[in-house]
């Protein structure tokens, strides 16, 4: 009897030792893989920065984008925004006190735009994050797995691509009340991932055929490992380009939704400034036209930055486009 217990305990002990070893091995393996991934990532990140610096377009775009990021983070501290309304100060002309004048409710336009940067940027970044995350994930899965997985993901993205995007957003808005930027971003990204997934898939397909990946799989390196350490760094520039352009598209779409009054918004969001100025008849009041022009210029500037940056990156990484 006693011996039996001892036997069971020993077995359990052995099991735990084995489990421990397995976990240890797993952790070491994972740590190594992460380390290698980070090292690769860091290497390609540095090459990436070098590329941006050497390409004039990308550099100009990067500066504009960094400026906007800076405004989004620190803008509210530097230019505190006062949301007190006073109709006596309605549509004031630009002056030393109000750099861009005031809006229809007497608020300082310049401060509003700075304040709104954070809102606009957060929608754009959330959307880009979801889009790229989901798109890349789906692209990698379908490109790497192939076969039926590939076909099904292909069909799904085909369906999503052939649905008219804006009407669907409108329909969704009947059922879902968009209360925060997070939801808005999620909804916007639902329809922008398939295109990205498709191109990531084809990138992965062509990468898979390259020698070094073939060698990796012949040498018995694990799939996940290949994806993280070899494939991802290779499509990084591509992903960066798409991140920026989906930010750009997100701004276009979100402001459009505000124009239609589907999405709720902060009053300082650039789109909201335009919409409320238009609704209060700013067209007819010469002094109020700035309330439309200023946010449009802000949007334009950001979009130009995004276009320059992504085109520059494309040029730097795509040798076919490089000028001789």
């Amino acid at each position: 009897m006693k011996e039996r217990f001892v036997g069971i305990f020993k077995a359990i002990g052995r099991f735990f030792v084995k489990l421990g070893n397995a976990i240890k091995r797993g952790v070491v393996c994972a740590a190594r893989a992460t380390g290698r991934f980070l090292a690769n990532f860091w290497r390609s990140f540095r090459a990436f920065c070098g590329m941006i610096y050497s390409n004039k377009k990308a550099f100009a775009g990067a500066i504009i984008l960094i400026l906007f990021a800076f405004l989004a983070i620190f803008g509210r501290l530097i230019f505190p925004y006062d949301d007190k309304t006073s109709f006596a100060d309605m549509y004031l002309k630009p002056s030393g006190e109000h750099w861009l004048g005031t809006d229809g409710m007497g608020r300082d336009l310049f401060d509003m735009i700075i304040h709104g940067t954070q809102d606009v940027m957060s929608i754009a970044i959330f959307t880009a994050f979801f889009t790229v995350g989901f798109g890349v994930l789906m692209g990698i899965i379908s490109g790497y797995a192939g076969g039926w997985t590939d076909r099904i993901i292909g069909l799904i993205s085909n369906v999503f691509m052939s649905l008219p995007q804006f009407p669907i957003l409108l329909i969704l808005s009947m059922f879902i009340t968009i209360r925060d930027n997070f939801t808005l971003a999620l909804i916007l990204s639902v329809f922008s991932w398939p295109g990205l997934a498709r191109s990531v898939r084809s990138q992965i397909m062509s990468l898979k055929e390259r020698d070094f990946i073939q060698i990796c799989s012949v040498m018995g390196v694990g799939r996940v490992h290949i994806i993280f350490t070899e494939l991802l760094p290779n499509i990084m520039s591509f992903v960066a380009i798409n991140f920026i352009s989906s930010m750009k598209n997100a701004i276009t779409a979100s402001v459009g939704m505000m124009t239609l009054g589907i999405a709720l918004f902060e009053p300082t969001n650039w789109g909201a400034i335009i919409v409320s100025a238009r609704n209060s008849g700013a067209f007819a009041i010469p002094a109020a036209r700035l309330c439309i022009i200023a946010p449009v210029v802000a949007i334009m500037l950001f979009q130009i930055g995004a276009i320059l940056f992504s085109n520059g990156l494309d040029e730097a990484f795509n040798p076919r486009l490089r000028k001789n």
Binding site: S162, L163, I251, G256, T259, I293, I299
Partner: protein, 342 residues
């Protein structure tokens, strides 16, 4: 007999590309119909009941008859199980009934399409044609003289126009030409006063459509130019163009048969697909210009929560895009022998 079968089989095998595409298209359409049905299914069940009660009052018929009419008009019977309800729904679609307004008796999705689509088509087809022609000409010229002054200027202009979302461009143009300068009207598709005078009516329509057309054209021209440029640059770099030159073919033939044909190929697909998107109109654009197009109608009925009309319009737009994709694929297969055999 066996020869007939083998011939048929060979025929199907040879045209495999088309059949696969057709199948995928039908499948996609079915999925969209299911989505649309789910939209209705998720409505509170008494919509049909309410509608039947309305009918009972207006038509003075017994409830059962009113209910049957309601089901026929709305394509939906909440009391059936899910499968037969879907069949009812599909049956209604095949009859050409896209959806009945639950608030207004004489308004259906079909009547809305008939009323609003022509305006959308007028504006968007003209602007698509303009932007395509101007854009491709620009693009090919840019590709020809790369790094020249034209290229630099065009790229700059395209970057700026591409940076402004189309409807904001519309807002700016509307403000400048509509409100400040007063050259163009700021809302509507025609002047009510001109109805009955054909010539004035026609001019009024053009006058109202001008600003939306200009906006659309400016907004789209850059995209076409870039696409045409990319395609033409790729073809110009291809060996077969140079080889054709060295083979002593006439330059004009090379231009036509080697350069343009090969460079236009990817653009044809995009053209067909954007033609389909045109049917949807742009809800935002049309609301900026207060133009009575289909996109605006869509927004309006969404605002009214008129579910059956909304799903009908949605279905119509989606089917158009799906079919256009099919047409684009077929065209691509007809024009490019490489695609056919994939």
């Amino acid at each position: 007999m066996s020869e007939f079968w083998s011939k048929t089989r060979r025929f199907f095998y040879k045209t495999k590309y088309f059949w696969v595409k057709l199948l995928v298209t039908l499948l996609t359409m079915l999925i969209v119909a299911v989505l649309s049905f789910v939209l209705i299914k998720s409505l509170p069940g008494d919509v049909v009941h309410q509608y039947a009660l309305n009918l009972q009052n207006t038509l003075k018929v017994p409830y059962e008859e009113a209910y049957a009419t309601a089901v026929r008009m709305l394509n939906y019977d909440p009391e059936q199980n899910i499968f037969s309800a879907f069949m009812t729904y599909l049956g209604g679609l095949f009859r050409g009934n896209l959806g009945q307004s639950i608030y207004l008796e004489d308004v259906t999705a079909n009547s809305i399409i008939a009323d609003y689509l022509p305006w959308t088509l007028l504006v968007s087809s003209v602007s698509l044609l303009l932007s395509f022609v101007i854009g491709t000409m620009m693009g090919v010229r840019m590709a020809r003289k790369r790094n020249g002054a034209t290229d630099t200027v065009c790229t700059g202009v395209i970057t700026v126009t591409g940076a402004v979302p189309d409807y904001l461009l519309g807002v700016i143009l509307l403000m400048v030409f509509g409100s400040v300068l007063g050259i163009f009207p700021t809302y509507g598709a025609y002047d009510l006063a001109t109805v009955g005078h054909p010539w004035e009516y026609f001019v009024s329509i053009l006058h109202h459509a001008a600003l939306p057309i200009i906006t659309y054209t400016i907004a789209q021209v850059g995209g076409w130019a870039l696409m045409a440029k990319g395609s033409a640059v790729a073809v110009l770099g291809d060996d077969y163009v140079n080889a054709a030159v060295l083979r002593g073919l006439p330059p004009r033939l090379i231009e036509r048969r080697y350069l343009k044909r090969n460079a236009m190929l990817p653009l044809v697909t995009s053209l067909v697909i954007s033609l389909a998107y045109l049917f949807g109109g742009s809800a935002v654009m049309e609301s900026v210009f207060a133009y009575p197009g289909i996109g605006r109608a869509f927004t309006t009925y969404i605002g009214k929560r008129d579910y059956f009309v909304v799903q009908g319009l949605f279905l119509f737009l989606s089917f158009f895009i799906i079919l256009a994709n099919l047409v684009a694929d077929f065209l691509c297969g007809l024009l490019d022998p490489r695609v056919r055999e994939r």
